[in-house]
């Protein structure tokens, strides 16, 4: 590829010398500038939400809140934590997320391992069966009817099972097993009398801890953040996960209806408080993830890499 470089010896000319010596510092300044702007564009809205959640809603409405909270108040959070729907949403989400992650990760690990075994007869056929579903599926309506016919509507399983196994994740798992569990190891174990189950649980799984961590994390985030399946399959508000509760308040503005605003006389004030609650809800539902995620970053990076490059 070196031959493809046209500027091969060009900079040795005196004319180009200055330009090329300046090119890199200029490049650095411009790119660092762009990236800093991008960082501000990401951090500032989030920061604003946090300060707005503890500011006087009237001052927010007047556009007086920019860099620091104005007219500090905890009213939003107080109302928020008195709200049963939110708490119930969190509890439901915790349940769906933990059970869902357990189910998804177990299936992906077992099936991913089986698919990684080149000596399993029919492996290619099974692989094709999985891959077809990446490019074509029966659609939302048929899936809904299947879930309904199975009697899963309005159960936790409707939120968990229909999307439990992503083929993409299965491919990542398969690739991981292939590259991290050498065939020689298995042959040695077989000579020692270990069968496939034993080898999978005692040898292969312990070798794939990073994969397990990655899968667990991806699924925790995915289940925690999803709303659509819950919206389709659940009718009972008591079963709503957090994201659906958030949707009703943040997007559909049902705040004033569902929250106890009896003590506030004017409609405008109720609306102001409604806005404050929205800022608070975003903080409460998002900040925990944003705080723990930097510690988990390396796993996600690994996932992104494995998925794309293999």
């Amino acid at each position: 590829m070196t031959t493809q470089l046209p500027p091969a010896h060009a900079p040795l000319n005196r004319r180009d010398g200055l330009v090329s010596r300046l090119a890199d510092p200029v490049f650095n300044v411009v790119t660092v500038g762009i990236l800093l702007l991008a960082a501000v564009a990401i951090i500032y809205p989030l920061y604003f939400i946090v300060i707005a959640s503890v500011s006087d809603p009237n001052l927010i409405a007047q556009g007086k809140v920019w860099l620091l909270p104005q007219g500090f108040t905890m009213e939003g959070y107080e109302t928020l934590f008195r709200n049963d729907a939110l708490l119930r949403g969190v509890v439901n989400s915790l349940l769906y997320t933990s059970v869902g992650t357990l189910v998804s990760v177990s299936i992906i690990l077992c099936t991913g391992y089986a698919l990684s075994r080149k000596d399993m007869p029919g492996r290619n056929l099974f692989m094709i069966l999985f891959i077809i579903t990446m490019f074509f599926d029966g659609g939302m309506i048929a899936r809904y009817l299947v879930v309904r016919d199975l009697g899963l509507l309005n159960t936790m399983w409707a939120v968990i099972l229909p999307g439990a196994v992503g083929v993409w994740n299965l491919i990542i798992a398969r690739t991981f097993f292939q590259t991290n569990v050498p065939d020689e190891l298995r042959e040695a174990a077989q000579i020692d009398g270990a069968n496939d189950f034993r080898f999978f649980f005692r040898v292969a799984l312990p070798l794939t801890k990073p994969l397990i961590a990655l899968m667990a994390m991806t699924h925790i985030v995915a289940y925690w953040n999803s709303y659509f399946d819950a919206m389709i399959y659940l009718n009972d508000e008591a079963m709503y996960p957090l994201q659906l509760v958030l949707r009703n308040v943040l997007v559909q503005s049902q705040a004033s209806a569902s929250l106890d605003t009896g003590s506030i006389d004017s409609y405008a004030a109720a609306q102001r408080l409604g806005e404050l609650i929205k800022y608070g809800m975003i903080v409460v539902s998002t900040v925990p993830l944003l705080i723990i995620f930097p510690f988990l970053q390396k796993y996600f990076v690994k996932g992104a890499t494995l998925g794309a490059l293999k």
């Binding site: 590829m1 790119t31 960082a39 951090i43 075994r117 029966g138 189950f197 539902s285 992104a304």
Partner: protein, 340 residues
């Protein structure tokens, strides 16, 4: 639920079979029988010998059968008048009637145009952003700054769609939103962003970049680390500046990954982001925000017109598949990477 229970049975079996002797077929016995080494027999032996692998495979296959292939089989209601009592196959056959009705309906053109516009414009605008970010982040001299930028750009991908859309509603609110305060501060007029069909696409695409560019950037950064550093060394010796090295080494180096991700993105063009589109819809911006999939949801699940909506959904899937195959073919012809 079936898949979970079979999962448990898989693990309990392991617990009981900790002692080596295998309860099933006799690999040694059959394989060692010398007289008739017929091919079929040895294949069967291999299958039988792998029974434990099939048990491990089973949960995934059961899932696949129930939640992927059964709905695929059920998609035939698009050609029938679905009646819950009669089920998928028992309902009367009507052929292409639902498709004709959709294509002749007055919504057809708008839906198709909206779906194509939001996704193609979105793809063209959003696709290059993470590539450019990765290329310049990769050249950063300071490792710590690199790490910092990566973390910041990547963090919004952990925020749920619901919250991102909630943030849009709050920050772009006409009366109390941050953006309109900034606009008026600089002498502009407040804009009712969420009530204006013209603003739907910019907001959708902009927030998509805000949320997802960082994550995609990581993929390209990983591809960049796979480039042989000696190429950069040699180019540096020859006096190539950073811009030239990006142009002649980095970009050709990640082109295969770019091609594959582009083809995949094209293949998803009819499906991407409809959960977010649905959230961003207001009665006032439906003119641009109603796309095929949101329409399918409304017609099918809210109005229970199962067959008609299944037909629209199927129409969508088929268009999608055609696009994917076409672009994969193009990528193959261009001698870049392809999916298959």
């Amino acid at each position: 639920m079936t898949s979970t229970s079979s999962l448990h049975s898989a693990s309990t079996t392991t617990a009981t079979t900790t002692s080596p002797p295998q309860p099933l077929p006799t690999p040694a016995g059959v394989a060692a029988a010398p007289p008739s080494p017929r091919k079929g027999a040895s294949r069967l032996t291999l299958v039988l010998r792998s029974w434990q692998l099939y048990v491990l495979l089973a949960p995934g296959l059961i899932y696949l059968a129930i939640f992927k292939y059964w709905p695929m089989y059920g998609a035939q209601i698009a050609f029938r008048n679905y009646n819950p009592a009669a089920g998928f196959t028992g309902s009367p056959w009507v052929g292409l009637a639902h498709f004709e009705r959709f294509i002749n309906s007055f919504q057809f053109k708008d839906l198709l145009v909206n779906t194509l516009t939001i996704n193609t414009v979105g793809l063209l605008v959003a696709f290059p952003v993470p590539i450019i970010l990765a290329l310049i982040v990769n050249q950063l001299p300071s490792e710590r700054f690199k790490k910092f930028i990566q973390t910041v750009l990547y963090s919004p991908s952990f925020i749920s769609v619901v919250v991102v859309v909630g943030m849009i509603f709050l920050l772009f609110s006409p009366s109390s939103g941050l953006v309109n305060h900034a606009l008026t501060l600089f002498g502009g007029e407040p804009i009712f962003f969420m009530g204006n069909p013209e603003w739907f696409r910019p907001l959708y695409i902009g927030s998509d970049i805000w949320q997802n560019a960082g994550f995609s950037m990581i993929i390209y950064l990983a591809a960049l680390t796979a480039i042989d550093p000696s190429l950069h060394e040699a180019a540096k010796m020859d006096g190539a500046n950073k811009f030239r090295r990006i142009w002649h080494i980095d970009i050709p180096g990640i082109l295969p990954v770019v091609t594959i991700l582009f083809v995949l993105a094209i293949g998803n063009i009819f499906n991407l982001g409809f959960e977010k589109v649905y959230l961003m819809q207001t009665p006032l911006n439906l003119e641009t925000s109603e796309i095929i999939n949101t329409y399918v949801y409304k017609i099918g699940l809210q109005q229970a017109q199962f067959s008609y909506s299944a037909a629209i959904g199927l129409f969508n899937s088929v268009l999608n598949l055609i696009l994917l195959i076409t672009f994969n073919q193009v990528a193959k012809k261009a001698n870049q990477a392809s999916l298959w």
